[in-house]
């Protein structure tokens, strides 16, 4: 997928520059200087913890919030002063926001009825409902639907007028795990078929990776990293990204040498030479990101000695946490050791990554 971006960069659809938004005097800015480009037909996800500013950006694109500073352009046209109803953008809300007094059909037809001349309204509504497999529910009211069904209707309502851009604000967060997984597949599939650019907001890293062409990781109102999921995972731009993506062990250290995409770092578990983020310099403090797959068991007495503190059975494998030199390391294994046992661990340096400490 990284090749998709690199080789066939799509035409630019939306471009935001220098966005700033502060709520209330003296408060920390919710969005503190964000540049963002969204390509045509791309599935872009804004990922970050709550309060990182991702929803605010979405609302500024939709027109519900006005930026204190910065510009947003769509198809090269600045959106400043354009009210929500005149932006070729539609939103799928976190709580679906279906109109309780209207049937499913009328909910979906809502935007079409507001247009002065619409041909084949019924056909278009049917098609939108078909696209989300809700064609048989047109006469129902929202309160007669399950959460997943309501979510589908909300999507149908947002795509029926064929917006240039679809915004989705944590649309699956209210659903149970199984329904969520199921709808992720459907959403991704729908986005490919429609060819509409999606901007998706979530705090769930797995969901972001499963759906997105581009992931924008946000931290405290700023963008920490913009890249395809694989790059985000393997080459986190800083310790925040690495930590938020999860699973890895972060070990502090001092860079002893850096260059050519690699760095040597002195840590509590010894010196490690590994791929690194660009621009590190010798003497700088940095972190070593150790992914579970970089660790493997070796016979006791060889490798790095560690003592097992947890073993969590997860079906086909077991997640093990072991402490070496005061550092808790996590890895997976099919034949896990006992808790309390002393083991030997081997570290695959090429699967580690040296990155900056986040501000």
């Amino acid at each position: 997928m990284s090749t998709l971006i690199a080789d066939t960069a799509p035409p630019l659809l939306l471009s935001a520059r220098g966005l700033v938004k502060t709520y209330g005097r003296g408060a920390a800015p919710a969005v503190a200087g964000v540049d963002l480009d969204i390509g045509e037909r791309m599935f872009t996800t804004l990922l970050g913890p709550s309060g990182c500013g991702k929803t605010t950006i979405l609302r500024m694109i939709a027109g519900f919030e006005t930026a204190d500073a910065g510009t947003i352009s769509l198809d090269g046209v600045p959106l400043k002063g354009v009210p929500p109803e005149r932006r070729p953008v539609n939103t799928v809300f976190q709580s679906y926001a279906l109109f309780p007094h209207l049937t499913v059909f009328e909910n979906v037809a809502f935007s079409l009825r507001l247009l002065s001349a619409v041909t084949n309204l019924e056909g278009r509504v049917k098609r939108a409902l078909d696209a989300v497999h809700m064609a048989d529910f047109g006469e129902r009211y929202p309160h007669q639907l399950s959460g997943g069904q309501q979510q589908r209707v909300a999507v149908a309502r947002a795509i029926v007028a064929e917006p240039r851009l679809l915004l989705l604000d944590e649309p699956l967060s209210a659903l149970d795990r199984r329904m969520r997984a199921h709808l992720q597949v459907e959403l991704k599939d729908l986005q490919r078929r429609l060819g509409i650019a999606f901007v998706y907001v979530t705090h769930d890293q797995e969901e972001a990776f499963a759906l997105s062409d581009v992931v924008v990781v946000m931290n405290k109102g700023r963008i920490a990293q913009t890249a395809d999921p694989r790059t985000i995972y393997s080459r986190p731009a800083d310790s925040f990204v690495a930590d938020f993506i999860g699973g890895a062990t972060l070990v502090d250290g001092t860079v002893s040498a850096a260059g050519n995409g690699r760095a040597s770092i002195a840590t509590a578990i010894g010196p490690v030479d590994a791929p690194a983020v660009e621009g590190l310099a010798a003497g700088e403090r940095a972190v070593l990101v150790i992914r579970p797959e970089a660790l493997s068991l070796v016979p006791t007495g060889t490798g790095l000695p560690a003592s097992v503190v947890h073993a969590v059975y997860q079906g086909e494998r077991t997640m093990v946490e072991a402490v070496a030199q005061g550092v808790a390391l996590r890895f997976a294994d099919h034949a896990p050791p006992e808790v309390g046992e002393t083991i030997g661990l081997s570290l695959d340096r090429e699967r580690c990554f040296v990155t900056r400490i986040a501000a």
Partner: protein
């Protein structure tokens, strides 16, 4: 016997409420019905089972004029408070939380002053030598006081509107607070201009509040006696005042009971009719059904 005990237990639970409803609502009605067919002899109610009071009620047009007037006052006030109260209620719902408390106090303060105080205050404002006329004369808009301001149907309408506006605003306000703000955003997002979002979303979803307001204001305004009699001048006769007069001065309890019943039935039918019309709308039904899924 033992098998019936649980059922009996549950029946006992409902009993106090049933008694309250019976005593508080139905018993006085029953008394009115019974009184209306009695006769008064030497200031004593005699169970004569006479149709005299009802016959007199049906053959005296002025009673029906007054019942009609009560319905008119009620409907007119409901309409006017609805029109005037709607924007106020919506504005209240959009105020920051801290200001809402202040707004409620401002809205309700007039109600704490008491009806008589307010009536005399209106006389000071609207009288021939009152505030409004003094200002109009001072700025040279009029030469002689506008007498129509006080003791006229206009006065009754104005004061009924003022007295009942808080009830309408409160009812609509509560309803407006319950409309999810995101629904309005969704409507805007889907292409609705603000006025259109109001008409298509906010308005239908606040109809239950409007219905409650209409029901309350209609009953309050139609039953109002002091305001028309003290501010309406020679137009101030009300069915309520006549009933009072018949019970007290005339000692004609049967006729008073019959008139009271007729008024009650007319008001009840009209109020229920108005409110249920509003509650039939799909907006209102959606709101009322929300809790049941």
């Amino acid at each position: 016997m033992t098998a019936r005990l649980p059922a009996l237990g549950r029946a006992h639970l409902a009993l106090p409420v049933a008694l309250l409803v019976g005593l508080g609502c139905l018993a006085p009605l029953a008394v009115l019905v019974i009184f209306s067919v009695f006769e008064v002899e030497d200031f004593e109610l005699v169970p004569a089972f006479s149709g005299r009071a009802w016959a007199e009620l049906f053959t005296t047009p002025s009673y029906w004029v007054l019942i009609g007037r009560a319905l008119f006052y009620g409907a007119m006030t409901a309409l006017l408070t609805g029109l005037a109260g709607y924007p106020v209620a919506l504005a209240l719902a959009r105020l920051p939380a801290a200001w809402k408390g202040v707004a409620v106090v401002v809205l309700l303060t007039p109600l704490y002053t008491g009806e008589i105080v307010r009536i005399y205050a209106w006389r000071i404002v609207l009288g021939a030598e009152g505030l409004v006329n003094a200002v109009l004369e001072a700025v040279g808009l009029i030469d002689d006081p506008l007498k129509v301001l006080l003791f006229s149907p206009l006065t009754i309408g104005l004061v009924l509107l003022y007295n009942n506006l808080p009830f309408m605003v409160l009812a609509i306000w509560v309803s407006a607070e319950m409309v999810d703000r995101r629904l309005i955003e969704a409507a805007r997002d889907l292409g609705a201009r603000p006025i259109s979002a109001f008409a298509r979303v906010t308005f239908p979803l606040t109809l239950p509040g409007l219905a409650a307001g209409v029901f309350a204001v209609f009953a309050l305004a139609a039953g109002e006696m002091l305001t028309p009699s003290l501010l309406g001048g020679t137009y101030g006769a009300t069915a309520m005042a006549i009933i009072d007069n018949l019970f007290g001065t005339a000692f004609d309890w049967p006729l008073a009971s019959a008139l009271a019943l007729a008024l009650l039935v007319a008001l009840f039918v009209a109020a229920v009719g108005l409110a249920s019309l509003l509650l039939q709308t799909r907006g209102a039904r959606a709101v009322l059904q929300r809790g049941r899924t």
